[in-house]
């Protein structure tokens, strides 16, 4: 179980012989079905956090009978602690384009879009420049596929895929009911593959390096490597590509400042792991799955403040469409404030935990459903800090 932490460099590695277009040509020379089978075999799961098998998603969309289909690259990362996609789009955008083009080829789509969060508008110019060349190169290869960019306008919930479609269609970015899933009815109600930036890069890299190189990395449930964004109390904050399946203790040895008391795994909507559990927490789908955000807190930090910040974030970013989330987030925030001030007894925290259970069941999308992750893990592990 004690796999040593392994740094890999697949995504940002640029060898002398590397050419993004070679990767594309390699894919285009193969039948679409083979590419799908390879992807499924590779075990690649979506890198946005939800972890659905990428190959299956593509297969479902490919099998839909529709003359219009879309490929969407979800570049609306907005979870506090998460900044990997920005780095990828900045440093290796061609790899993202190639992943999208392979997808277009496989599922039979003619249009692809990068939905870029408004906060990253400074990337647009460079991306458009590169896309102009890339789209031309697609044409030269007789691939009937064009990639464009759409900008977000500062709404965290638009990272939720159906909210993202609503936004692209010119509406408020409010999540839709599911089903139907995007593979059946996504953008413009047409079959759509929507993948995270990092997922698309891994598709390109699996095509380049082969399934086996990818399968060598990680564990049975969590294949491959992934990009982690490390922030908080660490001497070396930044972006790191690491093999999946490491114990949190080794991560902490490598990245923390020697005084870590908690690590928030998976961004604000993830779970907060206290020091005593570092040893038996695995980073991966068998332990704590994560979109890649790791925030480290040392003993100088008040976990009350940490939770308070998270709850403020969710209260502001809730789309307000469903009551459990809209009212729930506000009540959780008011609730811990009331306990802190002594207006409510400590036992009130347990009432609030019940509220998160309701939210998990009754909220419409991942935002409301996952607020209980940070809430419960911080309340359970740092109860005194919330009360006193």
């Amino acid at each position: 179980m004690d796999k040593p932490i392994k740094k890999v460099d697949i995504i940002f590695e640029i060898g002398d012989d590397y050419n993004a277009l070679d990767v594309l040509d390699k894919a285009l020379a193969r039948p679409a079905d083979d590419i799908v089978l390879d992807l499924i075999d590779s075990g690649l799961k979506g890198r946005g956090g939800a972890g659905f098998l990428t190959g299956l998603k593509w297969k479902f969309t490919k099998n839909e009978d529709s003359d219009i289909k879309y490929v969407i690259c979800n570049a609306d990362e907005g979870e506090p602690g998460t900044f990997k996609d920005r780095e990828i789009l900045d440093r290796v955008p061609e790899k993202v384009f190639v992943g999208m083009a392979i997808c277009g080829y496989v599922i039979g789509a003619r249009e692809g879009y990068i939905y870029l969060r408004g906060e990253y508008n400074f990337l647009v110019k460079n991306l458009l420049n590169k896309l102009e060349t890339f789209n031309k190169q697609l044409k030269e290869r007789n691939l009937d596929f064009v990639i464009g960019i759409r900008s977000g306008s500062g709404a965290y919930v638009c990272g939720e895929e159906s909210a993202l479609f609503e936004s692209m269609e010119g509406h408020r970015g409010e999540p839709r009911n599911k089903p139907p899933y995007p593979t059946v009815a996504g953008y413009n109600k047409k079959p759509t593959v929507i993948n995270n930036v990092e997922t698309l890069v891994y598709v390109a890299m699996i095509t380049r390096l082969g399934v086996n190189r990818f399968k060598e990395l990680g564990t049975k449930d969590s294949r491959g490597s992934k990009v982690f964004s490390v922030s908080g109390d660490t001497p070396i904050p930044g972006i790191y590509e690491l093999e999946l399946g490491m114990p949190l203790s080794q991560f902490v040895d490598e990245f923390a400042d020697g005084d870590a008391k908690a690590v928030q795994v998976g961004g604000a909507s993830g779970s907060c792991v206290p020091r005593k559990k570092f040893g038996d927490t695995i980073i991966g789908f068998e332990g704590i799955p994560t979109g890649g955000s790791m925030m480290i807190f040392n003993s100088s930090r008040s976990m009350y403040n940490v939770l308070h910040d998270y709850l403020e974030f969710f209260t502001e970013e809730s789309c307000g469409q469903c009551t459990p989330c809209r009212v729930g987030c506000q009540q959780l925030l008011k609730g811990i404030e009331a306990v802190k001030r002594g207006e409510k007894p400590p036992a009130y925290l347990d009432e609030l935990k019940k509220l998160t259970a309701t939210m998990r069941i009754a909220a419409k999308c991942g935002l409301g459903q996952s607020v209980g992750n940070p809430f419960n893990s911080i309340i359970d592990n740092f109860r005194e800090e919330i009360i006193y």
Binding site: G78, G81, T82, F122, S151, M295
Partner: protein, 155 residues
């Protein structure tokens, strides 16, 4: 025809006359005029054949699609957790003192608006601020002031 109406017409021509272009059109107006005036929203509604209330309802959902007047330069300081840990309060205070406004306000000369934002995606280099579309990481109060002084001179 007013400048705003001309701008909207131009944007609609560029992005297309369908609902799918609504966001791009609104973003284009904000880019030029810094906020969505009532006139702008009515013009957009007319051009895209939508109810003005629908345009407002959509715009008001998004933080970056302001429906109240903003200054020529919009400063957004990240207030979320890691930037908080690294001292965003001091940065905000310094900017408030320098500009003589509070968060949410616009200077008298309409040059600057000071806002906060939820995670700008530079958590490893906090505190950070976005000035219009430009990002400034690893701020200190002093550094933030110097940056805004430059804007005051040139923008």
């Amino acid at each position: 025809m007013s400048n705003t109406e001309l701008l909207v017409k131009e944007l609609v021509k560029q992005h297309g006359k369908t609902r799918n272009s609504l966001m791009a059109v609104l973003q284009g107006v904000v880019q030029e005029e810094r906020f969505l005036s009532e006139d702008a929203m009515i013009a957009v509604a007319r051009e895209l054949d939508l109810a003005a209330a629908d345009v407002y309802g959509t715009a008001s959902f998004y933080t970056f699609l302001d429906t109240v007047p903003r200054g020529k330069n919009i400063i957004r300081v990240c207030k979320t957790i890691t930037c908080h840990m690294k001292g965003k309060d001091e940065v905000l205070l310094a900017l408030e003192n320098m500009l003589k406004i509070k968060v949410g306000e616009t200077t008298h000369d309409k040059r600057f608006t000071l806002l906060t934002a939820n995670c700008l995606g530079w958590c490893h280099k906090g505190p950070v601020m976005l000035v219009n579309d430009e990002i400034y990481p690893e701020l200190t109060p002093q550094k933030a002031i110097e940056i805004i002084e430059e804007y005051a001179k040139h923008h």
